[in-house]
Amino acid sequence: MRITVASGKGGTGKTIVSTSLALCASASGRTQFLDCDVEEPNGHIFLAPDLSLSERCVVTIPRIIEGKCTYCGKCRDICRFNAITIFGQTIMSFNELCHSCLGCFLVCEENAIARDEREIGVVETGLAGSIDFVHGRTRVGEAMSVPLIKAVKKKARQDVLVIIDAPPGTSCPFVETVSDADYVLLVTEPTPFGLHDLQLAVAVLQKLNIPGGVIINRADLGDDRVEKWCAGVGIPVVLKIPFERGIAEGYARGENLIQSQPNLRQPLENLLKELVR
């Protein structure tokens, strides 16, 4: 089973919730944790894994062999991302625009395009206690994160509970991360920003037909607009976490919820039982 923790709005507490859930789950069975927030992965701060393996994640890009190129322009024409340009007898490829669709390779009749690769980041794996830990980390300056998220998700085990930490936002990295989840927990805060971004995230889940529930973090620092909205559209609020200076201070030190607020262990365990049932 895959439970993905996501949010829409950043900074609502996704990572502290997902890592705390993984810790709870690992007490009673084998658990895997995947950090798919590959631009800014933070799960390792709370789980302190021993990262024993690092693998490069690469995408395929074209390298044009000038000697064979006849400047026919077919590769330029098929590329919808403007990654290939021809001026007279000069051809250039702009690799950071390439989406690796392989169209240029397929249309070239002269075998003038060789496969090259661009490293977009690394996938690192290891053990955090008994938790199988995996995260991706994009190369700084790299715009493309979806292939790296796919590479992290490829590590997902079928035979154990998998807890996934998603990136913020609601566009392609978020969609890729939640796309085959069995259940999505949306962590939000009871503020106008929290509600607005929650509404966007819920719209994506509905489009994808994935069931989800809401966790309201810092539940007493705001008002009841999130709860009212959830009740109105029929999305369950599965957990409320109050604002405690102790949690904030613990978080700052890299402590998960169970360390900073031991009384949250029971509600988290109950939530897991409910979901995994």
Binding site: K9, G10, H99, F193, D197, K207, D223
Partner: protein, 290 residues
């Protein structure tokens, strides 16, 4: 004309709160919200849309089932796992990146590429100056292109109005929309918080700034939640020759101003508002100069 982008790496550190305050404090500027997949600035600035337009970018593949022979060649060619054979080719439009390879090679010409309407952009009036903002539809791609578009529009407006400043609210992370928000930018204000995650993500933003050779400044928000960590962040910035403009204390007034939908510094002399006023004055002197 100078342009400042507010970033954070980590979400929820106070980017939009900060930008909302700067919108109130700065004079003669144009505002742009470049967090197009979770835009929130409009919730603080109560914009009156003057212009509302469709944003179209790229294409999405669609199958004409009367022509599809279910040969499966498109499924084989698609690098994005967006096509599944189910009696006929079926396209998952959320996975389709619009490369058009399937359409190009379909022996039956059964695949049509439709222009993709993926969001809406607005030019609005606010009490604090014009705002260019946008909303990408749920689950869409091309956020980088929409960001680039919003920025172009804001610059054009600034030139028309003779504005001296463009203030940009950026997205979290360091990927596609953030990179797109950095073109033509004079300075980055990186807003962080005194947590391990805050520091980790800040360092990635500062690395990105170095990568694109853009000067960055730092504000440490909610610093009193962990003073030793705030010191550690300052030390890290000093090592990198990055100026820390100031520290903003934790203040419940930040949440209440959001609940009321007004910029924090409006009619407010609380501790966070005062700190932000000072940081803004320094940022303005550093970026706009004399």
């Amino acid at each position: 004309m100078k342009e400042i982008v507010v970033l954070s790496g980590k979400g929820g550190t106070g980017k939009t709160t900060f930008l909302g305050a700067m919108a109130f404090l700065a004079t003669n500027k144009v505002l742009a919200d470049c967090d197009v997949d979770a835009a929130d600035l409009h919730l603080l600035l109560a914009p009156e849309p003057r212009q509302e337009n469709e944003f179209r970018s790229g294409v999405k593949a669609r199958v004409d089932s009367t022509l599809c022979s279910a040969c499966g060649s498109c499924e084989e060619l698609c690098q994005f796992d967006a096509i599944e054979m189910n009696g006929e080719a079926q396209i998952n439009s959320l996975s389709c990146e619009g490369c058009g390879v399937c359409a190009h090679f379909c022996p039956e010409n059964a695949i049509i590429l439709d222009e993709n309407h993926c969001g809406t952009w607005f030019v609005s009036d606010t009490d604090y100056g014009p705002l260019v903002h946008a909303q990408l539809f749920a689950g869409e791609e091309n956020s980088g292109k929409l960001v680039a578009f919003v920025k172009r529009k804001a610059r054009q407006l600034a030139e028309e109005n003779g504005a001296e400043l463009i203030l940009v609210d950026g997205a979290p992370g360091i990927g596609c929309p953030v990179i797109a928000s950095l073109s033509n930018t004079d300075a980055i204000l990186a807003v962080t918080e005194p947590t391990q995650s805050g520091l980790h993500d800040l360092e990635r933003v500062l690395d990105l700034a170095v990568h694109f050779k853009i000067q960055s400044f730092v504000s440490i928000n909610k610093w009193d939640l962990n003073p030793p960590m705030a010191d550690e962040i300052e030390a890290c910035c000093r090592k990198r020759d990055v100026i820390v403009l100031g520290r903003v204390p934790f203040d419940p007034a930040v949440v209440s101003s959001q609940l009321n939908g007004v910029p924090l510094v409006k009619d407010n002399d609380g501790i966070a508002a005062m700190a932000i006023r000072e940081i803004w004055a320094q940022l303005r002197d550093n970026v706009a100069g004399d």
